[in-house]
């Protein structure tokens, strides 16, 4: 889409490591192959998901405009970027931010990208990632290059992979932590990124690090693997390590993680995670996506057997301790930062009530005397490009260049000298970034919902905005216990806003009244985030969207009036019980007829009559694509490279790439049959025995013709080829590769999981 994409490729090449440049170029090759029809929609989908390129609502080219379902006629015509996903339709780009840690320069780049390639807004997710919406897929390689130039990757941000590794935003400055988990989270994130043992999962895999057992900053119990900092005794010495939890997860059926190990010494962290990944890859469900998360494997095997399987794998792995920082290196505070004498904005009066409220709510005194951390509360997790650049300036001016995203979809500016608070407040306010809402009931978490998510049923953001507006207006009059409650709103049962662990959670559902769809939210009460999310909320009732503010009002009033002294909201909910709450809001569940109250039939922040016709198929993680399919896709890319070499007259390199593509494809097929090959000779030997002599690779119509191409290439491998020979070799390599796709389909018994079917290959 952008006219400058080719120029960016050239301009940024010197700034990228060869490894990153190659990775992104490979993705660009995959785009080319897909456009040529040489990669199936399914394989391409998983490739792009693994680069963080996700689908977005209406990307099937259909949208209900309130009157009728319309076809969006994009210029790309029939070209698809996934099953039923139109090439030109806008998509979402997720950007991984390990443990939420960022520098000002990185904020600047993300702001530029939002402005140039998206809709001018950056969204912070509940897993400390960034998301850009309304992005054209053709622009994504440039986005990746510009990010890579400042040390950010989008690799494995989506798909069946290890997702962003999260950690407490307060890590390193927290008054309650056991130790700073940041370096461990960072080491873990980069150790598992692209790790061969993490490429063959049936679903996504989420890891979180918490600095203590009690607080809700990392919510370790809702993750596939949760790691809670602990000190333990090893041979009479106190050493850092982790309590390891496995098999947690939210989604439609939430699971609490189970204790895998009470204490794992720090040196054991990486090999143990690698062993868990291996067991998950080997034994996790692959066919049924709905049962493919780690929680289901732990349930199926039982915790003990799962543990034994992991320890058996662990015994086969080397130590990775050298990749981890010892504790004494972890706790170093950064150098003090000189504070500018003049603020960007005019000084504010310290008696200003807004400033006082901001001090009370948004400022956290660090463990290190004289320093504070400042929360920038983002409405709905959004920040505009202009604001983000403003934030980058503030980070540069007041801190040693450090800021983090939080799982509440906010930013945390750390290491701010306490005496600079009036200045930083003034500067943040200049960019509308000083709302005194952090940690209050008005600081609501919301997933994208129907705004951009293909699975969204209701407008989570519309509801969250409405509630936040109403609550902000009365915040100062609320009792402190109510002021500090948490609200989380998801657009559907998938729980991306983590509604199960909020004091008050909502998720979108649709109900019918006299044949008309009515947006509703299911109300969940009493989720307990303490103790890293120790219990999940109770579903009370589904309330029409437009009645949710009234229902919330009643619930808050009941809590304010009837709570016992110091009674937490989760405790209050348990004491009162589900029935009492259902009675409290029961009348609000009624939907008036459409003729009387048409507004009930329209969702928040929308003008169209409510409909679920726009619901799409999720890409939360793609379909399972096997290692063989990825290997065959890589071979396609090699042939593309060979063609480029041939076009520029580099004949030996072209022959080499084409020949390599054939051998690697043969190796992939052999692996699918359980035959491991360690050399080119063993590939040819295995090919002859397992695929040629058995006729498995033979084409139903031309028999051994395509298979013979490999054997011929092998015989001629040391011969210098002229241009004509090279051109022929490339054609033969392509035909051989097509035969491999067809053969793989036959190996799978025609179950259609290959990138190409036998028919496609024709």
């Amino acid at each position: 889409m952008k006219a400058s994409n080719d120029l960016w490729r050239e301009t940024l090449l010197p700034q990228l490591t060869p490894h990153l440049a190659r990775e992104i170029a490979e993705f660009e090759d995959a785009i080319t192959l897909r456009k040529q029809g040489r990669l199936s929609e399914k394989v391409f989908t998983e490739i792009r998901l693994r680069r963080g390129c996700y689908g977005q609502r209406y990307d099937n080219g259909q949208r209900h405009d309130g009157i009728r379902l319309r076809t969006l006629r994009y210029p790309c015509g029939d070209l698809l970027k996934g099953v039923n996903t139109v090439w030109d339709a806008p998509g979402m780009q997720r950007i991984k931010v390990p443990f939420g840690g960022l520098k000002a320069e990185q904020l600047d780049v993300v702001a530029d990208l939002a402005e140039e390639y998206a809709d001018g807004v950056v969204h912070v997710t509940t897993r400390q990632d960034f998301q850009l919406h309304y992005v054209h897929l053709d622009d994504t390689p440039t986005i990746m290059r510009r990010l890579a130039a400042v040390g950010i990757t989008t690799r494995e941000a989506c798909g069946n992979t290890v997702r962003n590794v999260t950690a407490c935003a307060l890590a390193g400055i927290c008054r309650d932590e056991v130790f700073d988990v940041t370096p461990y989270a960072k080491a873990c994130a980069y150790f598992l990124l692209g790790h061969p043992d993490c490429q063959n999962f049936g679903r996504k895999f989420k890891i979180a690090f918490a600095g203590c057992a009690d607080k809700p900053c990392a919510l370790a119990r809702i993750h596939d693997v949760g790691l809670i900092a602990r000190l333990g005794n090893v041979n009479g010495r106190t050493v850092p390590g982790f309590e390891v939890l496995v098999g947690g997860g939210l989604g439609p059926v939430p699971y609490q993680a189970k204790v895998f190990s009470e204490f794992l010494p720090w040196e054991e962290l990486l090999p143990t995670l690698q062993a868990i990944a291996r067991v998950f890859a080997a034994q996790g469900e692959k066919r049924n996506r709905n049962r493919a998360r780690l929680k289901f494997l732990v349930e199926k095997l039982g915790l003990d057997e799962f543990r034994q399987a992991v320890w058996r794998e662990r015994a086969t792995l080397p130590s990775q301790a050298a990749r981890l920082p010892p504790l004494h290196e972890v706790e170093q505070p950064p150098q003090p930062h000189p504070i500018p004498s003049r603020a960007l904005a005019p000084q504010i009066r310290e008696t200003d009530p807004e400033y006082r409220a901001w001090l009370a709510r948004n400022v956290y005194p660090q463990r290190q005397p004289g320093y504070v951390a400042v929360t920038v509360a983002l409405p709905l997790g959004d920040i505009s490009a202009e604001q983000l650049r403003g934030l980058a300036d503030v980070v540069r001016r007041y801190t040693p260049d450090t800021v983090r995203t939080t799982i509440e979809q906010n930013f945390l500016i750390r290491w701010v000298p306490a005496h600079a608070l009036p200045q930083i407040y003034g500067d943040l306010r200049r960019f509308s970034l000083a709302d005194p809402l952090a940690g209050t009931i008005a600081d609501i978490t919301a997933c994208p919902g129907t705004d951009t998510c293909k699975l969204g049923i209701c407008s989570s953001r519309g509801l969250a905005r409405e509630l936040s507006l109403r609550l902000s207006a009365i915040l100062d009059s609320l009792p402190p216990a109510v002021d500090a409650l948490s609200i989380k709103v998801s657009g559907c049962f998938n729980s991306c806003a983590q509604h199960h662990v909020a004091d008050i959670g909502f998720y979108g559902v649709s109900r019918n009244r006299s044949g008309h769809a009515v947006p509703h939210f299911q109300v969940l009460l009493g989720g307990d985030r303490r103790g890293n999310a120790r219990s999940y909320g109770l579903a009370i009732a589904a309330v029409p969207s437009k009645n949710v503010p009234a229902a919330l009002d009643r619930i808050l009033r009941a809590y304010a009036a009837e709570r016992n002294e110091d009674e937490s909201f989760p405790d209050f909910v348990r004491r009162k019980g589900k029935v009492a709450f259902r009675e409290l809001i029961g009348d609000l569940c009624q939907v008036p007829p459409r003729e009387l109250e048409p507004a009930y039939y329209i969702d928040w922040a929308d003008a169209r009559p409510f409909s679920t016709e726009d619901l799409g198929v999720g890409e939360c993680a793609g379909e399972v694509v096997t290692g063989v399919e990825f290997q065959l896709a890589r071979c396609e890319r090699l042939i593309l490279d060979a063609q480029a070499q041939l076009d520029t007259g580099r004949l030996p390199q072209a022959s080499h790439d084409a020949y390599r593509a054939m051998l690697d494809a043969a190796q992939a097929l052999l692996e699918s049959l359980g035959v491991k090959c360690s050399s080119d000779e063993s590939i040819i030997e295995g090919f002859q025995k397992e695929l040629y002599d058995t006729k498995l690779i033979f084409d139903p119509f031309v028999g051994s013709t395509f298979a013979d191409y490999l054997l011929k290439a092998w015989q001629n491998r040391d011969r210098l080829a002229d241009e004509e020979d090279t051109r022929r070799l490339l054609s033969e390599a392509q035909l051989f590769l097509d035969a491999c796709h067809a053969c793989y389909a036959r190996i799978l018994g025609g179950r259609g999981t290959t990138g190409k079917t036998a028919e496609d290959a024709r």
Partner: protein, 203 residues
């Protein structure tokens, strides 16, 4: 970064600043933009409405299209209607700019006619911003600014011909912002008529 030939610049946006911009206009324009989609009101393929009312400095409410976005934009604290070109266009810098000016102008006139927005939204047809949404083709540097200023001056001089007064051009935003110019046309009794004439008369 060195700027390229301005005729190679793409993604030229035009923003018409508002004379009246009541906060309520953002709430109301959601329904208006949905209706525009139903009516195929613009020549671009219209996709959806994106609601960023909660960001006080930002894109406001966007009518998302394939070739371009229209938004009631609040960035830099200067509310107005932004036509943000996304796909490339053929022709000179002037051709692309005039296209964006025309699209923004038409949309603004249409918005002013919408019943829901009466009294809440009015545009100042003398005040525009021109922006180049590509930091590589049109980096925000002195050389780019000098080029942009000259090309804008020449183009808008044609618009002002016949009614006198001085055209004002200013560089707006900080060094990390997009290359952006504020254009103020000389005062006129009926600026819309002048623009009608200017944009209609141009190729």
């Amino acid at each position: 970064m060195t700027p390229r030939d301005p005729d190679l610049w793409q993604h030229i946006g035009a923003k018409l600043l508002a004379a009246v911009f009541e906060p309520e206009c953002l709430d109301r324009c959601i329904a208006v933009f949905h209706r525009w989609i139903q009516q195929d009101a613009c020549e671009e393929l219209l996709i959806d409405v994106a609601d960023y009312r909660h960001l006080r400095l930002g894109p406001g409410v966007i009518l998302v299209g394939h070739e371009a976005n229209y938004s009631l934009d609040r960035s830099l604290g200067r509310p107005g209607l932004l036509y943000n070109r996304k796909t490339a266009l053929a022709g000179t810098f002037e051709t692309k700019l005039i296209h964006s000016l025309r699209q923004a102008y038409r949309a603004a006139r249409r918005l002013e006619e919408e019943q829901e927005l009466k009294g809440l939204l009015r545009f100042d047809y003398l005040r525009w911003e021109i922006l180049c949404n590509d930091r590589l083709l049109a980096p925000n540097c002195e050389a780019s600014w000098a080029t942009l200023e000259k090309r804008l001056r020449d183009l808008f001089a044609a618009c002002c011909t016949g009614y006198g007064g001085a055209l004002r051009l200013e560089r707006v935003g900080g060094p990390r912002d997009l290359l952006r110019a504020a254009v103020t046309l000389p005062p006129a009794e009926n600026p819309a008529a002048i623009l009608d004439h200017f944009l209609g008369a141009l190729p």
